[in-house]
Structure formats: structure tokens, C-alpha cells
């Protein structure tokens, strides 16, 4: 499940301090490429090569983004989105880990619940939003539920698969010492499954953000997803691009934060 890894993480090169210079060398062209694209964007808009109200110059977008820092709608919306994403993520993850471990260890629960989970799993998230509106309204309950549901599956699947690979000797040892069932789960199975859980949690972080935006678009009254659609109708592309920019920065920051936390909290990650 290393599908969501980073590009550099996979680099087979040694990332010692001496190679930083060597790595930045080729990347210089990449940075130049981005600069060239942005410059072309700016010039094409300023000189009217692309005559469209939806093609604002980069500087105008940047200006819109910076002027939002003084307390604009985008940051307020983003905060609302993040709050929902985080709440839903927490609920979905806790349920995913708990059920993943329980189902991994108990045959009765597996028979009772696994078929139900497998039935619900392939439903694309946007599809559950319209029926949920009928029951939960269009407020936070709906969005948090949708986010929890979307984050539950990768966390559950990874945890469940992870539990299956826990070395049986560990569990036998715990049994030898007459460790209670609950304690074995918490102190033996959970730590051994953590790397797998972390992989699921990481997939879930990006999903949480995506689904938060999706739910706000389909059934919105606030949040960055709603804001984007609103700006689309208001024909304010500069603000729209600025909002996308903030979202991208958020997504990037969340991913980085996760990697740092992962390295700190699970030092035995990837050392099987």
C-alpha cells in the first residue's frame, strides 16, 4: 500500500547531505519550467493572447490570495472545511482501526460485519450524499458523516490486512503469559499493526479533504467547496484560483505533517 508515497521517498539514491546539491541540480530545470509556465500565463493574459474573463493574470490571483490574508472569506471557509474534515477523519479513523482489529481477530464479528462492509465499500462517496441529505439535512452532520464514511474504508482495509500479518508467535507469547484478550489487542496487536494502519491513515487524509470539498459543493452552505462554486457563479476566477491555491497548500502541508508524525511516532515503520 505504498501507492500514496512521495516521489522523492522512492528515489533509490542515497539522500545524504552531500547529494542535496546533486539533487537540486536537475531540479533547477523543473523550477525554471514552472517559472516559464507562470510567465507564459501572465503574458498571455496581459497581452490578450487568450481573451477570456476566466484567464486572469497570475499576479492578479496572487494579489487576491495575499489580500485574503488580512481576514478574507477564503480563510474563514478553509477553516470551516478543515474543522469538518478533521472531525470526520477522527471518527472514521477510530472506527476503522477498532473494527479492523476486532474483525481481524474475531471470526464471529467477521462473519457478521464483513459482508456488510464489503457491500457499502464500492459506493462512490458523492452518491451517498443525496440520500443522506434527506436524513441529516445539509449541515455539519451530513458532511461529517460523509467524511467519516470515506475515511473509514482505507483505514479499515489496511488495519484488517495488517492484523492478518501479525506474527503469530507474538500472540502465542502473550497467551503464554496469560495476557487478557483486550490487553493483547491493545499492547501487542495494535503496535504490530501500526505501520499498516498508518498507510491507511495517510490515504484517508487526502480523502477527507476531497470529500469535505465534495460534500460542500453538493450540499453547501459554507466551507471552501461551497465558496468555489459560489465564485464560479459570481464569475470571480481570481478568487477561485486563489482558493484552489490555498487548498493545494493545505493538502501539501497535511501530507508533510503526516510524514513527520509518522517518522516520529512509528520509528519501526518500514523495517519489517
Amino acid at each position: 500500500m505504498s501507492v500514496v508515497g512521495t516521489l522523492e521517498g522512492a528515489s533509490s539514491k542515497p539522500s545524504a547531505a552531500g547529494s542535496i546539491r546533486r539533487r537540486l541540480g536537475p531540479r533547477l530545470y523543473g523550477v525554471l519550467l514552472i517559472a516559464a509556465i507562470l510567465l507564459f500565463w501572465e503574458v498571455s493574459s496581459r497581452l490578450g493572447w487568450i481573451v477570456s474573463a476566466y484567464w486572469p493574470p497570475v499576479t492578479k490571483i496572487l494579489w487576491a490570495a495575499i489580500s485574503q490574508l488580512g481576514g478574507g472569506d477564503i480563510l474563514v471557509s478553509l477553516a470551516a472545511t478543515l474543522r469538518r474534515a478533521l472531525t470526520g477523519y477522527a471518527i472514521g479513523s477510530v472506527l476503522g482501526i477498532a473494527l479492523g482489529i476486532l474483525l481481524g481477530k474475531s471470526k464471529v464479528l467477521r462473519i457478521a460485519l464483513l459482508p456488510l462492509i464489503e457491500i457499502v465499500r464500492p459506493i462512490p462517496t458523492p452518491a451517498v450524499i443525496p440520500p443522506l441529505i434527506l436524513f441529516l439535512g445539509v449541515d455539519d452532520a451530513l458532511k461529517i458523516f460523509a467524511i467519516s464514511l470515506a475515511t473509514f474504508f482505507p483505514v479499515f482495509t489496511n488495519t484488517f490486512a495488517g492484523v492478518a500479518t501479525v506474527d503469530d508467535t507474538l500472540i502465542q507469547t502473550a497467551r503464554t503469559f496469560r495476557t487478557s484478550w483486550a490487553r493483547t489487542l491493545l499492547r501487542v496487536v495494535l503496535p504490530a499493526t501500526l505501520p499498516a494502519i498508518a498507510a491507511g491513515l495517510r490515504t484517508a487524509t487526502s480523502l477527507a479533504l476531497v470529500v469535505a470539498v465534495v460534500s460542500e459543493m453538493v450540499a453547501g452552505s459554507s466551507g471552501i467547496g461551497y465558496y468555489l462554486v459560489e465564485m464560479q457563479y459570481a464569475l470571480r476566477p481570481d478568487l477561485m484560483y486563489a482558493a484552489v491555491m490555498y487548498l493545494a497548500i493545505t493538502g501539501y502541508a497535511v501530507n508533510r505533517l503526516f510524514l513527520v508524525l509518522e517518522a516520529r511516532l512509528i520509528p519501526w515503520m518500514g523495517k519489517t
Partner: protein
């Protein structure tokens, strides 16, 4: 994996809990415990579904969504594999493209849907672009990781025998990294489907996503659930097809 197949081996037991849930739902509906307007009984939903299939009304939107998805997914897969291999095999291309990929990748692709509507207008091109954007990055990244993770001996052997660059890519690199490529394509499959449904909901002219939201707004709940069922069947069907293709192409997968 073994635990999952264990449940299916005892398939009658596996059917037990869905059967219980369905019958509780059905009888609760029949006894009037749940509001039939908000949550119709399973039998009513099945009936709507049968009607939908019988008069053929299901096919135009279904085929519409499938067409948009398949075209976008195919483009995304080819692009993702091509760029992934290029970046993994050439230091220059890696340096050139890596910063750009790293900037575009963390953008939640759903946020780009309204942007694309403004930019490309509302229509098939936009929908396909949405799918491509959503699906290309998982394919690209796992292809890259797959190729970078290849045994160097393979490539050195090819070099020893002076195999040409193109041939090395097509006969050695691609087959050897196929399991990773397929893992990325599996993630892309789910993401692409989510995004095409979302795009259809936000500004569709047709398609399953458009139908579901439209029926919900028209308060035709029974029909809405029937369409959701169609969508689930589509998602499940695509996944099964994918599993089948994967098992055919990579029979050794998961047997390490």
C-alpha cells in the same frame, strides 16, 4: 486476504447478515416504522430498478457515464505510465517534471471541477479532463515507484546485451513494474469514478450522477435509490473486471 476468502468460502454464512439487515429494513418499512417517503422499502427499490431496466431507461445515462469514465481513465493511465517511466529512467526528465508534479499532486482534484467548468465550459471535454486529472497522479506515482524499485541487475543485464532503450522499456521495465502500475491504476479507478459522478452532479447534462441529484431534488426517492444501486453495480462491476484483468496479467501477484 485469507480471512476475506474464508468468509466467502462459507458463503451462506456471509449472506446471513445482509439478509438480516434487508429483512429488518423491509419489515420496519411494512410496519410503518420508517417514513416510506424518505427511505422506501428494499422491495420497492428493487421494483423501481426492474422498471428502469425493463423499459431501457437505464442505458443512456449509464453508457454516458461509462463512456466519459473510460475515455478519461484510458488517457490518464497512458499518460501516467508514460510520464512515470520517463521520470524514473531519465534524470533530466525527473528534474524537469518533479517540481511540477509535486505542486499539482496535493490539490484536491474535486476543487478543480468548478475551475474547469469556467475554463472549458460545461461539456464532455470538461468531464473527461476531470477524470484524467484525478486518475493520472496515482498511476504516475506508483509507476515511478515501481520502476525505481526494480532490481538493478535486470537493467544491467539488458545493458550487457546491448538491448535498445525502447526495447528495455517495453520488454523489461514495463512487465517487471506491472504489479505496481496496476496498484496505482486500482486507486485511480475509484478516484476517477468519484470525480466523474461529482462533475455530473455539479453540472451534468446526463449521466448517473446527474440523475441521482436530479431525482433527489425532485423528491423521487425511490427512483433515486434505484440509480444509486445502478452506480454501486457499476463501481463493483468495474472493480471485478479490474481484478480479473489483474489476475490474468499478473498471476503471481500476492504470492511472494
Amino acid at each position: 486476504m485469507s480471512q476475506r476468502s474464508e468468509v466467502y468460502r462459507t458463503s451462506l454464512l456471509g449472506l446471513l447478515s445482509p439478509a438480516i439487515v434487508l429483512s429488518v429494513w423491509e419489515s420496519a418499512g411494512a410496519l410503518g416504522w420508517i417514513n416510506p417517503i424518505l427511505l422506501p422499502r428494499p422491495s420497492q427499490i428493487v421494483w423501481s430498478l426492474v422498471e428502469l431496466v425493463a423499459d431501457g431507461a437505464v442505458f443512456p445515462p449509464l453508457l454516458y457515464t461509462i463512456a466519459l469514465f473510460v475515455v478519461g481513465y484510458a488517457i490518464a493511465s497512458i499518460l501516467g505510465i508514460a510520464i512515470g517511466v520517463a521520470m524514473a529512467t531519465s534524470e533530466t526528465l525527473y528534474g524537469l517534471l518533479e517540481p511540477l508534479v509535486e505542486i499539482l499532486r496535493p490539490i484536491p482534484k474535486s476543487a478543480l471541477v468548478p475551475v474547469l467548468f469556467l475554463f472549458l465550459g460545461i461539456g464532455k471535454t470538461t468531464m473527461i479532463t476531470v477524470v484524467v486529472l484525478a486518475a493520472v497522479f496515482p498511476v504516475l506515482i506508483s509507476t515511478f515507484q515501481g520502476v525505481r524499485g526494480l532490481d538493478p541487475v535486470l537493467l544491467e543485464t539488458a545493458r550487457t546485451f546491448q538491448v535498445s532503450r525502447m526495447r528495455t522499456i517495453f520488454s523489461i521495465i514495463l512487465p517487471a513494474s506491472l504489479p505496481m502500475i496496476l496498484a496505482g491504476m486500482r486507486v485511480a479507478l475509484g478516484l476517477g469514478l468519484v470525480l466523474v459522478i461529482l462533475a455530473e452532479m455539479l453540472a451534468g447534462e446526463d449521466g448517473i450522477g446527474f440523475r441521482i441529484l436530479d431525482l433527489q431534488r425532485a423528491f423521487q426517492i425511490r427512483e433515486m435509490f434505484a440509480w444509486i444501486f445502478v452506480l454501486v453495480a457499476l463501481g463493483g462491476g468495474l472493480m471485478m473486471l479490474f481484478d480479473l484483468i489483474e489476475r490474468t496479467l499478473v498471476p503471481w501477484r500476492g504470492k511472494t
